[in-house]
């Protein structure tokens, strides 16, 4: 790779050819503010929008200012990042953006996390000299999981980029032009009427409050203070390694014990673990895999834990709905068991039990409302909160996380194996299923680490020997890769017998409900959270789901065996073609 010599603020520097001015400046710790700059390290090629013009710099010999994010360094370039001209231009850009942005910061969901707000503060903007008409209506649209506030959109295009390039869902698009430019689904339908799967990746990269999530915080406070309700909570694996980020802990730090204590303080009667549901999922799913392999029917088996993925296949590939595992997702299995087995053993009426799920995910909010996810007349899960919601509730009542003792999950639905922890990372469900299938068929599973399906690559494959027979497996993340797999299946070129699909890049650890990271979707963030979960896995006594003593007890006392009639009633579901207004 050849290099070029440049100077930034008179500091000489040698950088690789093709490096942007912004990257070069960051490499020597020179700060250039950005607003629309999206760093999708996990996607190798994506467009630099260069739409906001906040990152402009002055280049000697060039007439106009250059956007540093999209301008590449060339030999002999002399760059100045904070001349008076640059600072004036940046201020003007921010002032103009603010002149078309409702000043509702105090009540905005992105308050204190908004990039526009942060930059305005950093640039010392105290007044907006421009007055005039707003370009977009102050209209607020709520879908099942997402909220759109049209007026807060600054047209940076980050959501469009993620929706098309990362997820290949192509729901959000730019429409119209000039003053009327607008971002939304085609024909301006509501997100629920579009093919949106509610993955929430757009929310994660939106610099302002234009895209945010719906929240059930108020409803949950309500039931927590209702003495006639028995409110139980369950927490997804990916939450425990990300929640700490909201309280100043390093990336990927697992604060499981403190989180459990905090949940008790919030008022939940029982603090259970979605991990238990994950172990249960593996019992059923590995059994299903073994049967399908034996019969050679409905292959490849595709995982069904991810509701974003399920929405995707239901609308995009409805003729292949016999392929996903019929297993409910772990938190739904948990809910079904909480309102049946647990209700009975704790002598509770299921109508008084409220199941709250803390998820790293927005699609789970939508999933929980599915009509096929109920038993005995009760919805399996009542409310879904995100990692961010939980952090907000903890902050709301002023819990000092640092000062908390480590708590442990309640039983019988709180014990889990390492196989459950890794549900939160791409490849984890597949790995957990393989561990269990091998143990079931061979009587032992010595090597539980399937390194080939780990990591943040979008498309991973491996060959695994089960009971002397070789099977091919794949783990994909990001819906763009899911589409690749489905096209292979459609064309009859899919060599795999078992496939795991996660809608979000990297898996649930990078879900749409996780703490915001300033439009970054980097290997560092995903990698650290990933490490956190593999460490949880390593620290567990048992690392194969069927070795969970409470799972064994549950089968003995209630479910009989994997795939039994009772198990089917409570733990399995069905999928159906999703009709959307937009084709």
């Amino acid at each position: 790779m050849s290099t070029v010599h440049i100077k930034i603020n008179d500091i000489p520097l040698e950088v690789e050819e093709g490096t942007s001015i912004l990257q070069a400046a960051r490499s020597i710790n020179i700060y250039i503010p950005t607003l629309c700059y999206l760093s999708l390290h996990i996607v190798h090629e994506h467009k630099i929008n260069a739409s906001c013009r906040v990152c402009v710099v002055e280049i000697k010999g060039r007439r106009n200012l250059a956007p540093s994010c999209s301008t590449k360094c060339t030999e002999g370039m002399e760059i100045y990042t904070n001349t008076q001209r640059v600072i004036r231009a940046r201020r003007t850009v921010i002032e103009l953006l603010l002149s078309d942005h409702p000043a509702e910061c105090a009540t905005c969901e992105k308050n204190l996390k908004c990039q526009l707000q942060k930059i305005a503060a950093k640039m010392n903007i105290r007044e907006i000299p421009y007055m005039g008409e707003y370009s977009k209506p102050n209209e607020y649209i709520k879908s099942e999981a997402l909220k759109r506030d049209k007026a807060k959109c600054i047209l940076c295009g980050n959501c469009v980029e993620v929706c098309s390039k990362v997820q290949d869902c192509n729901v959000l698009t730019f429409s119209h032009r000039g003053f009327k430019t607008f971002v939304g689904p085609a024909f301006d339908v509501n997100l629920d009427e579009s093919k949106c799967v509610a993955c929430g990746q757009c929310v994660n990269v939106c610099p302002t409050g234009a895209l945010s999530q719906t929240s059930a915080i108020n409803e949950v406070w309500e039931v927590l203070h209702n003495p006639s309700k028995h409110v139980v909570v369950q927490v997804a694996p990916a939450v425990r390694v990300a929640l700490g980020e909201e309280f100043g802990y390093g990336l990927g730090t697992a604060i499981t014990g403190k989180m459990v204590t905090a949940l008790r303080i919030l008022g939940f009667q029982k603090v259970f673990d979605t991990n238990f549901g994950a172990d249960l999922t593996i019992m059923e799913e590995s059994n299903e895999l073994i049967n399908r392999l034996k019969e050679g029917k409905n292959l490849p088996l595709i995982t069904s834990c991810c509701p974003g993925w399920i929405s995707f296949i239901e609308s995009e590939y409805p003729s292949f709905l016999s392929l996903p595992s019929t297993c409910k997702s772990p938190h739904e299995m948990f809910g079904a068991i909480a309102k049946s087995y647990y209700a009975k053993s704790a002598s509770l009426d299921p109508k008084d039990i409220v199941v709250v799920s803390i998820m790293p995910c927005l699609a789970k909010k939508k999933e929980a409302k599915r009509e096929q996810l109920q038993n005995d007349g009760y919805q399996n899960v009542d409310y879904v909160l995100t990692t961010r919601d939980l952090a907000n509730m903890i902050k709301e009542i002023g819990i000092d996380i640092d000062a908390l003792e480590n708590g442990t999950f309640d039983n019988p639905l709180g014990e889990s194996t390492g196989a459950a922890d890794i549900f939160g990372v791409s490849g984890g469900v597949l790995e957990a299923a393989l561990r269990n299938a091998i143990l079931t068929l061979e009587g032992k599973c010595k090597d539980v680490d399937f390194m080939a399906v780990r990591g943040y690559e979008g498309f991973k494959e491996a060959s695994v020997k089960i009971n002397g027979k070789e099977i091919k497996v794949a783990a994909v993340n990001g819906l763009k890769n899911a589409r690749k797999i489905m096209e292979m299946i459609k064309n009859g070129t899919c060599p795999y017998q078992a496939i795991e699909v996660m809608a979000c890049p990297g898996g649930c650890i990078n879900g749409g409900g996780q703490p915001f990271h300033q439009r970054k979707m980097s290997n560092t963030i995903i990698g650290k959270r990933m490490e956190g979960l593999y460490m949880q896995d390593m620290s567990k006594k048992a690392r194969i789901s069927s070795l969970n003593p409470y799972i064994q007890k549950l089968y003995k006392e209630f479910l009989i065996k994997p795939g039994s009639e009772v198990a089917h009633k409570y733990l399995h579901t069905y999928f159906k073609k999703r009709e959307t207004v937009i084709k």
Binding site: S164, N170, V171, L172, T173, F174, S175, H176, R177, P185, A186, F187, I582, K583
Partner: protein, 157 residues
Amino acid sequence: MENNKEKFDELSAYIDSLHATGHELIAVLHRAQHIFGYLPREVQEFVAEKLSIPVSKVYGVVTFYSFFTMEKKGKYVINVCLGTACFVRGADQIMKAFEERLGIHNGETTPDGKFTLSSLRCVGACGLAPVVQVNGKTYGNATIDTVDQILKEYEGD
């Protein structure tokens, strides 16, 4: 959309003749608008499906270019050029005259579906300013009398 099978067939045949590579969207939309007179949702969905591109992309392009329209147009589309040269030579008066006589505003269609009145910016015939186009036919050096002539010419049709 009523009785449109033939129109869809025509569009379909046109798209097939292109051996689509994914870069023909604008050409296809031009043809589609020529066939249907406008680009309603069904037509956009049809184009997206035929070209194997997301309908959101089609919608983005249709709404971006002012040439494309999602509104059904009248049989005759009267375009008054409001470009600089035409404007300084009284195009606004021409527009006003059309509005008064047709009883509609710029951008609207008469209730009988006969005329749509709209404006455009410069057709490259500034020497003939002010210019009016009706379904592509150009009328130069337009005056109020021209307005009446044009309406007379097409009204009986």
